[in-house]
């Protein structure tokens, strides 16, 4: 099925109805295996058992950024290609991305207290991640305050593209500035610095979280299409009544 075929909301709804149960089942299986492997993973020689927080914190951080990246592509779809489902995809991704960014901040804070001796410090990585969370809230606020969906879509798309500047700042903050947060340890030149007994459960958990993200995103997109259908019908009802 070509991307253009999915521009038809009814066709997209039909595809979503068929795909969501399978994606959901796959997500449950991936989490069952991932959590099992995470619990069996050995303690870190320095951090001890608190390394288990990494299996939540790192995938949440990746998904917070993936969500904004996806919204940025969708923003181009809205402003440049005017794909009918682009703003639906962007609007549906915002609360999910915000939730994962919040989870990243909370788990990071709970990991920081025993390892750094503090819940929070205004270093570049933590601050840029907090900025990402605030950007998510700003986009959600735009969607909620501008009543006309097409006007809201354009405003949210512009804000999303401006906010995308934060993504490389988050990624490279640990290299550009002297931060308390550690540098890149999974995807880096020269290979991962994490030993395989911890790296493999981390990657399995990352796959599970990513599957969860896309299952939720597809379901939220389906909801948004139905919400627009309800809005159209109510407008029709109001114009018939007047």
């Amino acid at each position: 099925m070509a991307l253009a075929d999915l521009a038809n909301p009814s066709r997209f709804l039909s595809l979503a109805d068929r795909t969501i149960p399978w994606l959901g089942g796959l997500t449950v299986l991936a989490f069952a295996y991932g959590i099992d492997q995470a619990m069996l993973a050995p303690d870190d020689y320095q951090q001890g058992a608190t390394v288990k927080i990494m299996f939540l914190h790192v995938p949440s951080a990746w998904l917070g950024m993936l969500g904004w990246g996806l919204m940025s592509v969708a923003a181009l779809g809205t402003l440049v290609w005017r794909h009918p489902l682009a703003d639906v995809a962007a609007k549906a991704a915002a609360p999910i991305g915000a939730a994962f960014t919040l989870l990243c901040l909370v788990t990071g804070s709970l990991w920081g207290r025993p390892e750094w001796g503090t819940y929070w410090v205004w270093d570049a990585r933590l601050t840029s991640e907090l900025v990402l969370f605030l950007l998510y809230l700003a986009v959600i606020a735009v969607w909620r305050t501008v009543e006309d969906p097409s006007r809201a879509a354009r405003a949210a798309a512009i804000l999303t593209l401006v906010g995308a500047i934060d993504l490389p700042i988050i990624k490279f903050s640990v290299e550009w500035w002297n931060t308390l947060h550690q540098g890149a340890s999974v995807f880096r030149l020269g290979g991962s610095t994490i030993y395989s007994t911890i790296l493999i459960p981390l990657l399995i958990m990352a796959v599970a979280f990513t599957l969860l993200f896309f299952t939720l995103h597809l379901a939220a997109m389906r909801n948004e299409i139905l919400r627009r259908r309800v809005r159209t019908l109510r407008l029709m009802q109001a114009s018939t009544a007047s």
């Binding site: 058992a49 939730a99 919040l102 025993p114 159209t232 009802q237």
Partner: protein, 63 residues
């Protein structure tokens, strides 16, 4: 069995993850059911996307 050091932070992190994931799942499910109910209600009242008057049999949705 030795007590795990900093266990309260680990438990709190996993509890936070459960709360966030449960909230997201509940959000999409409750929203979906509410929207389906609203659409069914509008359809029952004869408000459909078709331009012609609503027919008694359930009409298929069109984009």
């Amino acid at each position: 069995m030795a007590a795990v050091k900093h266990i309260e932070f680990i438990v709190a992190a996993y509890a936070a993850a459960v709360v966030v994931v449960a909230f997201l799942i509940a959000w999409v499910m409750v929203d979906y059911r509410g929207l389906r109910r609203t659409l069914a209600d509008l359809d029952r009242r004869g408000i459909t996307r078709r331009t012609e008057p609503a027919r008694p049999e359930p009409a298929g949705e069109q984009a």
